[in-house]
């Protein structure tokens, strides 16, 4: 029971983290009535996961050999793109929103870009979703025996625990300031996306689409990436015990490019977001 609990908790954690962050984000920018974007994205992610799970079970041959890989890679890189885009946008906002005074955002601009939030929720759920569906399905078919039932129950509880974590993030997010929330989550999402990017590039390397590079280092004696802590950190910030040079390069490159894109504004002078500088005097 404990084993299956950990599996689904880990698979569901990333989705819960991302959903927790996007809901808090919407709430924080005063777009709470647009929760539907995140909900629809997440629900579509669940739907796509079930469809892919069913399709994978029905497939065989080259489609089964490569189909999930291609979809998996597509989702990884799509997630990196939307997370980066969102991080950039969030930084623009953090600058525009000076204190809690001006927390109302430009409505038109926001609605125009809220579908990105939906896409983030979608990729967050879909990335590990099909796997989780197949795992759960296998357990449920064996739930007739006592041990099978315990395993299935453990897995369900793991999903519940992941959901509770997402909820806790949302609740906790209410109590911290907007600035701190932006700072915390943009840092976290940056590392998450860097890990994803590095993972995607590593897959391309393994598939032979990128030249093979040797192992950069081996820290498996300190922290193995197959254990509970290691694989958790692997999912969260892309920790690898034996990364290749290309993977390390991809990670660093992503951090440098996306980081400078996001935090550039902290160095240069912030651009006024209100047209013609119509900032009320008391807000400065």
């Amino acid at each position: 029971m404990g084993g299956t609990f950990v599996v689904t908790l880990r698979e569901g954690f990333e989705a819960a983290l991302i959903l927790g962050i996007v809901y808090t984000y919407l709430e924080k920018i005063g777009a709470g009535r647009h929760f539907g974007y995140a909900t629809r994205g997440g629900a579509l992610g669940v739907l796509a996961s079930v469809v892919l799970g069913v399709v994978v079970t029905a497939l065989s041959g080259p489609l089964l050999d490569f189909g999930p890989d291609v979809i998996g890679l597509g989702v990884i890189f799509l997630a990196v793109v939307v997370l980066t885009w969102h991080g950039y946008w969030m930084q623009q906002h953090a600058r525009a929103v000076k204190g809690e005074v001006q927390r109302r955002i430009d409505e038109a601009q926001a609605t125009h870009r809220l579908w990105i939030i939906g896409l983030i929720a979608f990729t967050g759920v879909f990335r590990e979703g099909a796997e989780t569906v197949l795992f759960m399905w296998g357990l449920l078919t064996q739930a007739t025996s006592t041990s099978g039932f315990a395993s299935a129950l453990g897995a369900l509880l793991g999903l519940v625990a992941a959901a509770a974590l997402g909820w806790a993030i949302f609740r906790g997010g209410q109590h911290i300031s907007l600035q701190r929330f932006f700072a915390l989550t943009s840092g976290l999402l940056l590392l998450l996306a860097a890990g994803m990017f590095s993972t995607g590039v590593g897959r391309l390397e393994a598939l032979g689409l990128l030249p093979q590079s040797s192992t950069a280092w081996d820290t498996s004696f300190i922290l193995d990436d197959q254990g509970h802590v290691g694989s958790f950190l692997n999912g969260l910030i892309g920790y690898r015990a034996r990364p290749s040079f290309i993977e390390v390069g991809a990670y660093v490159l992503y951090l440098a490019v996306a980081g400078s894109l996001m935090f550039r504004g902290n160095v240069s002078k912030p651009r006024p977001s209100t047209p013609q500088g119509k900032v009320p005097a008391h807000a400065t």
Binding site: G3, T57, P62, P68, G138, T199, G208, Q226
Partner: protein, 114 residues
């Protein structure tokens, strides 16, 4: 949105057949069988020639899905119950490469390239 996504997935799959079909047909790479049975890998150690690409043919004889995963090989593939999948592995440098079933961490094994 849903239809666009379906189209996207369908397009990817079609593209895949076009790309993967001829590539796998022309490949004379050796095939190595690996079976998941009674929650264990059979065999749990596979010896391969270093610097030679090969195909790992993974069959899941369990009644539940397994996920063949290897951090060292950058592979993460679900093997539904009763199914067989092919995993193309690149030429490996001499060394040991661990793999495991991500759905059942008790099942582990390794590939030794020499």
């Amino acid at each position: 949105m849903r239809t666009r996504l379906t189209l996207l997935i369908a397009g990817l799959l079609v593209g895949l057949v076009v790309v993967a079909g001829p590539a796998s047909a022309a490949d004379p790479r050796p095939e190595i069988a690996l079976t998941i049975e009674k929650d264990q890998f059979q065999p749990s150690e596979i010896k391969v020639k270093a610097n030679t690409p090969f195909t790992l043919v993974v069959t899941n004889k369990n009644a539940k899905a397994a996920e063949f995963e290897s951090k060292d090989l950058r592979v993460e593939k679900v093997v539904p119950a009763g199914k067989t999948i092919n995993v193309l592995i690149r030429a490996l440098k001499p060394g040991t490469y661990a793999f495991f079933d991500d759905f059942n961490k008790a099942a582990t094994g390794r590939i030794v390239a020499e």
